[in-house]
């Protein structure tokens, strides 16, 4: 069960979220982060937090074609490498407050790596899924229209569609697990607020925890100037997390003066030399290379 702390400052916290970035120094940033963490804890579910934000925004506004936020350009993750929480100190374990079951899973993963045993589920060319989507370190593009916003990761041509035309989630009886889930959103000024459910279980990243198929997220995306898109993310996942995991993600617009940096079709299986398999021990190993003569890795997979 997710721990619930009584913090009776709902209006204040949501007000801080919706009024926009105010901090400049490290101390202010830390205080702001604590507020965001408290805001997540204050709400039992992602849906509750999303609805509270929507109510505070008066239901949100409808974008007009001639007044769209300028999110054009090609971006990449600004901080964090492939660690889920960019604020995780170097050499420290992930910052999530995990349940004992998921803490044990993380421990097992870490001990495996120490023994040379690691298997990443995207090694099969499967998409990373959300919320891991946030961490992939390649090129990203963001396409804003009044009715939908597309959040595009070049890796495996991976698009998250955020519906902002006022529709809700699909009915419970129509739901099934999706890599990127079902995302609805609204605009509060120039901030895009998103609720995502209907997700599959996965991992936040290598050397990071698992999430369950009950995971849901709330995100607030905002261009903060100088080509930096910042995202407040709350992950709710009662089987895995003792409290919502708040992180701030960010994506930097890359310089591209000659316009040569372009997102191309990504065929993950185009080169046999990248084919790997999971060994009996759960480790990763290459199959046969095109540039060697030996067929030395056939038939050794799980």
């Amino acid at each position: 069960m997710m721990q619930r702390q009584a913090i009776g400052i709902s209006g204040v916290l949501i007000g801080c979220v919706l009024l926009g970035p105010v901090s400049v120094g490290a101390q202010d940033a830390s205080a702001e982060k604590q507020q965001m963490i408290a805001l997540g804890i204050e709400h039992e579910t992602a849906a509750e937090l999303y609805e509270a934000l929507r109510a505070r925004a008066g239901g949100g506004r409808r974008l007009a074609w001639d007044r769209l936020p300028d999110w054009s350009g090609v971006y990449t993750r600004a901080r964090g490498g492939i660690t889920y929480d960019p604020d995780q100190p170097p050499g420290a374990p992930p910052t999530a407050k995990l349940t004992p079951e998921y803490q044990a899973k993380l421990q097992q993963r870490i001990e495996g790596v120490a023994q040379g045993v690691e298997w990443d589920p995207i090694s099969t060319c499967a998409p990373p899924g959300h919320p891991r989507w946030l961490t992939e370190p390649f090129l990203k593009e963001f396409v804003v229209t009044p009715d939908q916003t597309w959040l595009i990761n070049e890796m495996v041509n991976d698009i998250r569609r955020i519906y902002t035309d006022g529709r809700g989630h699909v009915p419970e009886e129509d739901r099934y697990p999706l890599y990127n889930g079902d995302s609805i959103g609204f605009w509060d000024g120039d901030k895009l607020v998103i609720h995502t459910n209907q997700l599959q279980a996965g991992i936040y990243q290598r050397m990071n925890p698992d999430y369950s198929d009950q995971v849901e997220t709330v995100e607030i995306w905002q261009m903060t100037g100088d080509g930096l898109l910042e995202v407040d993310v709350w992950v709710y996942d009662p089987p895995a997390l003792r409290e919502p995991w708040y992180t701030k993600q960010s994506y930097a617009r890359l310089s591209n003066d000659d316009k040569s940096l372009r997102i191309r079709y990504w065929h993950c299986g185009e080169n046999q030399n990248n084919t790997v398999f999971e060994t009996q021990e759960g480790a990763t190993q290459f199959r046969d290379f095109t540039f060697t003569d030996e067929d030395d890795r056939q038939g050794d997979s799980k």
Binding site: I82, G91, P93, V113, E270, N273, T284, F289, E294
Partner: protein, 130 residues
């Protein structure tokens, strides 16, 4: 499992997992601490997703030739590193350093290549945010 225990294990495993951080698959089939450096001639530059491979023919002491494969990131990351397919055409002479596979096969993570004219190519530069 205590968080302290996890922290200790994490610190030990971190170097193994992150030294040559790879995008699509674990890098634990490569040596983390060791590097090899060879002189050779480019046989083929496979500029592909999710990883590119630079195939280099290396002449051994006994006169035989071994083709080595050096793995790097895909096209967009190489482009950001300033490494173009035309930079390393077949026949290009170079010296290349990599982290070799643990099982002895002639493959490695591409760390740095130096062309005969002195130009250096480091794929990791492609992850710089600029």
């Amino acid at each position: 499992m205590s968080r302290f225990t996890t922290a200790l294990a994490f610190a030990g495993a971190l170097a193994l997992a992150t030294a040559p951080a790879r995008a699509h698959h674990s890098a634990l089939m490569f040596e983390v601490e060791k590097t090899i450096t060879v002189d050779g001639v480019v046989k083929e530059f496979q500029y592909t997703n999710p990883h590119s491979w630079l195939l280099v023919d290396v002449t051994n002491a006994d006169g035989t030739v071994t083709t080595w494969g050096f793995e790097a990131e895909g096209p967009s990351t190489l482009r950001r590193a300033g490494i173009r397919p035309s930079d390393l055409k077949a026949g290009t002479k170079l010296t290349i350093t990599g982290r070799p596979m643990k099982d002895g096969r002639p493959a490695a993570i591409w760390v740095e290549a130096v062309r005969a004219d002195g130009k250096r190519f480091d794929p990791r530069e492609g992850f710089r945010v600029r």
